[in-house]
């Protein structure tokens, strides 16, 4: 450990106490895109977060906010890194009034804990971001990756009512509120959601809950080829019905594709919707609830099984084109089977909005060398269609070569940089992330 790193770690320990800091070997699980921090800070209150951020701004440390560190290792590297600030020990319930359908929790509360708490009242937070349900709410909103419920219940930005954060220069801001309709001032809350820790450390969130629908039913169509399911997927997405979610999962050229439609509502409505969905897409058949739930959970956990995870966004009507584009990332089946390169990526697509989540492996330098230009090409093709390709997790070398995302759209660069400066004037928070 370098002298600077030791000084940083000791300063954090002086602020928080020794039991709220990890250093040395204990930081291994908190690497950010390959780089190890000098210390991991585990504050317990927003005031402690403020103290750490005050020290960071004064010392010129780079701080990467995190929940449980689930997205750090494979994620984007930062230009500098001194402290990972984890809110995982701030996981209390601040306020829960079931009759108001609102919940305020500290940012370190996990999605799973929130689900358990609210299920007791027959309520839920209809947000199923990709990845583990042990992820924290703070992390889920900081990344704001949409899940399959986005079209029916709203995206993460539509479900959050308020948050508390600590800015890069250690100001505590309380944005939004605890009521479901609120236009008192500029909606800075929206900036924090999806800002990936670059504008502030989220310490508390208030979310809008919904009653858990009485019935849940799953309809599934299967095929050896994902392409064969595209017409049914688009038919479901463009029918005058609003299912809870529609997902198309598969792997071009590698068999076992599935279209999964989830219906939620009153028993009467769900029964009628199931009938109507089958009229729209005759290949759909009802599966038992346990099988349906397992299938949805498997699709949600896609990223966890692969070293490389990405999101391809296209206009929804380009679903078929998206599946074909993914095939271009694979090598010929024979080569893949012989261990030379890999097949096309595994994917889950939301036919409502044209977002594909991809998972693939990149075992070794040769495969990284093969994939890097293909991913760059895929991004270019996506942008031509008005879409984008975001690399969410990848080995550091591949991430570095492809870049997490394309350039900022024309004309917005200076607004983007201006916003970053207004929340984080000295570039303390996750420097380099989300562009400069």
């Amino acid at each position: 450990m370098s002298r600077d790193a030791r000084a940083c770690e000791e300063r954090v320990a002086a602020i928080l106490g020794r039991d709220q800091v990890a250093s040395g070997e204990a930081v291994e699980g908190w690497r950010v895109g390959g780089g190890a921090p000098a210390a991991v800070a585990f504050p317990r209150t927003v005031e402690e977060v403020k103290e750490v951020m005050t020290a960071a701004a004064a010392e010129g440390w780079a701080v990467v906010p995190s929940g449980r560190g689930l997205s750090l290792a494979g994620g984007e590297a930062c230009e500098r890194l001194d402290v990972v600030l984890s809110t995982s020990r701030m996981d209390g319930t601040v306020d829960y009034e079931p009759a108001d359908l609102t919940l305020s929790v500290e940012a370190g509360a996990s999605l799973e804990a929130v689900a358990n708490l609210t299920a007791g009242e027959g309520q839920w937070l209809p947000m199923e971001p990709p990845g583990s349900s042990s992820a924290t709410l703070g992390g889920a909103f900081a990344y704001a990756f949409g899940g399959p419920l986005g079209t029916s219940f709203g995206r993460p930005r539509d479900l959050i009512l308020g948050l508390t954060c600590v800015t890069g220069d250690a100001r505590i801001l309380r944005l939004g509120g605890r009521v479901v309709k609120n236009v008192a001032g500029f909606d800075l809350l929206k900036l924090l959601v999806g800002s990936q820790g670059t504008l502030g450390v989220i310490t508390e969130v208030t979310v809008r809950l919904y009653p858990i629908p009485a019935t849940e039913t799953f309809l599934v169509a299967r095929s050896d080829e994902a392409t064969d399911l595209v017409p049914a997927a688009r038919a479901v997405a463009t029918a005058p019905l609003l299912p809870a979610s529609v997902e198309l999962g598969g792997r071009p050229g590698r068999g076992a594709a599935a279209l999964v439609v989830r219906l939620r509502g009153s028993p009467e409505a769900v029964a009628a919707d199931a009938h109507a969905q089958r009229a729209v897409a005759p290949g759909l058949t009802r599966v038992d609830d346990a099988e349906g739930r397992a299938l949805v959970a498997e699709l949600r956990g896609l990223e966890a099984r692969w070293a490389v995870a990405a999101r391809l966004a296209l206009p929804a009507s380009r679903l078929g084109e998206g599946v074909r584009l993914l095939a271009s990332l694979g090598t010929a089946d024979a080569d893949a089977d012989a261990g030379r390169g890999a097949g096309a990526p595994c994917f889950v697509a939301d036919p409502n909005v044209g977002v594909f989540r991809l998972g693939m492996d990149a075992p070794g330098q040769a495969e990284e060398d093969r994939l890097a230009p293909l991913l760059v090409d895929l991004r270019r093709e996506a942008e031509k269609l008005g879409g984008s390709l975001t690399l969410v997790q990848a080995p550091a070398g591949l991430m570095g070569r492809v870049g997490a995302r394309g350039g900022l759209p024309a004309g917005v660069g200076r607004i983007h940089r201006g916003l970053k400066r207004s929340f984080d004037p000295s570039g303390t928070l996750a420097p380099g992330r989300l562009g400069r």
């Binding site: 509120g177 001032g185 500029f186 019905l241 028993p267 409505a269 044209g354 879409g387 759209p409 607004i415």
Partner: protein
């Protein structure tokens, strides 16, 4: 900055927008003196009505070069004085930008010019089985540009959410005249959520000229019924019980006795019983097969709460009549007093009965009449205070009562505006809900979009707030190409 524009500037503006696009005759400017909240008035230096983004950019460039403030304006139906031009500003209106540019049925997206009237989009989308969900009560007049500025709600946002959920992209003219495209159909942004922060910015970040929105399929079925209660409290209890049962109605609207009587005495009479303490409108939509069961469950909740009478709507005409009384309540009040202020605040739903009682007490203590119409499912209240602006004493009492109502709402965890915005009217209440640090951060974000403070100045942020000193000038976007 002076109150009269230089003849040269007026001529150059006219060169851009043509004779029909420029209003400088003082008599005609009078109709731009206020918005729907008539207590705030100021005559603009001129009104410019560009026909498209290109003209809008040219207009903003000219005004920016002359250092003249730009005040964006839609239909002028706003209720917070947000589109009033003080300080010699020029109103840039969207009245000539009313085209629906595209209807992408396959992707359920529409692209419109900012002056498109909210209801017109739904009319255009309807043949394709689609509609635009946010439905403010003024939807037959208000523009989508105005909806974007205010992040408008409406009775149906209980189930469907407010404007921000539906806006996917914006074309905006920045303070210096440059045009930026924000967002886009692919919902995986590579920047901060700029669309999200511009929606609800009350025209203070730039002039929005084009809007891309998501459309929804028209629900298969709708059921609307009216529940009549002797007491306002009982209606509020029924709402809480409906929500607690796990039902998600499309709308839950309450009108109190004063509002009922105003509607029934007007041309908008909807057949509401004038002796009732309150009526509750309940609407469910979605899969037809589930609706009767939902209605039965909701009716049971109303019965538990002591409902006097349930009236269903058997036909579309009956349903429209039930809604007409609600949506036109504001207009109907016009005959009760020369002037009225519609207040707007949101409280946690469970605090509604308590807050409504308090609002009644506050009005009574100032000798004022109050009528309540509100989005009960969202906890969004609209107390209407009746007065006569020729009587300075009454105006003063309305001001005091308004502040006390805001304080009462904030005291129970609510906020000072749920959908009408801050504008000029509520700047003085902003510190009831926001700390100085929060307000400074808002001012700093405004400065990023509008470093010289030329776009809708004097709105939203209280005058005493300065952008965070730690950010100050550096908070502005730097010059030069991006």
């Amino acid at each position: 900055m002076t109150d009269t524009l230089s003849p040269d500037l007026v001529r150059r503006l006219r060169d851009v927008v043509g004779e029909a696009g420029l209003i400088s005759d003082p008599d005609r400017l009078l109709s731009y003196e206020s918005d729907g909240l008539t207590t705030h008035r100021a005559l603009p230096g001129a009104v410019v009505l560009p026909a498209d983004t290109r003209q809008a950019a040219a207009v903003v460039t000219l005004l920016s070069e002359a250092g003249v403030p730009v005040v964006p304006r839609g239909a002028g139906t706003g209720l917070s004085g947000g589109a009033v031009a003080g300080q010699g500003g020029v109103v840039v209106g969207t009245a000539r930008m009313t085209r629906i540019l595209s209807l992408d049925v396959e992707n359920r997206l529409a692209r419109v010019q900012a002056g498109t009237v909210n209801a017109d989009l739904t009319v255009a989308a309807h043949p394709h089985g689609l509609y635009y969900a946010p439905d403010p009560s003024s939807q037959t007049a208000c523009t989508l540009g105005g909806n974007v500025a205010e992040n408008s709600g409406g009775p149906h946002c209980l189930k469907y959410g407010v404007t921000s959920r539906y806006v996917t992209g914006l074309t905006m003219v920045l303070a210096g005249g440059e045009v930026v495209e924000l967002g886009g159909a692919a919902l995986e942004p590579s920047t901060y959520d700029l669309v999200g922060v511009v929606v609800g910015s009350e025209g203070c970040f730039g002039l929005v000229t084009e809007i891309e929105v998501r459309l929804l399929p028209v629900p298969q079925g709708v059921r609307t019924f009216m529940a009549v209660f002797e007491q306002l409290d009982e209606a509020a209890r029924a709402v809480t019980s409906i929500i607690a049962t796990g039902l998600l109605p499309a709308a839950l609207e309450i009108m109190d006795q004063a509002s009922i009587r105003a509607v029934e005495a007007s041309v908008f009479a909807a057949g509401y019983p004038v002796d009732a303490g309150a009526v509750l409108l309940v609407e469910f939509d979605g899969t037809d097969a589930g609706l009767d069961a939902d209605v039965a469950r909701a009716v049971a909740c109303c019965e538990e709460a002591g409902v006097r009478e349930i009236r269903g709507s058997r036909t579309e005409e009956e349903r429209a009549a039930l809604w007409k009384g609600r949506k036109k309540a504001f207009g109907a009040m016009g005959r009760l007093a020369p002037d009225l202020v519609v207040q707007d605040a949101t409280v946690p739903r469970t605090k509604l009965p308590e807050v409504l009682r308090r609002v009644g007490e506050i009005a009574a203590s100032h000798g004022l009449h109050v009528a309540n119409v509100f989005h009960a499912g969202d906890g969004n209240l609209h107390p209407k205070l009746l007065f006569d602006r020729q009587k300075p004493d009454e105006v003063e009492r309305v001001k005091r009562a308004s502040r006390e109502i805001m304080e009462a709402c904030v005291a129970v965890g609510g906020t000072i505006t749920g959908e009408h915005g801050v504008g000029v009217d509520k700047r003085e209440y902003m510190d009831l809900v926001h700390s100085p640090a929060d307000l400074a951060a808002m001012a700093a974000v405004k400065a990023v979009f509008d470093p010289r403070g030329l776009v809708n100045p004097g709105k939203v942020i209280p005058e005493w707030v300065v952008a965070d000193p730690g950010v100050g000038a550096r908070g502005g976007a730097e010059a030069g190409p991006s």
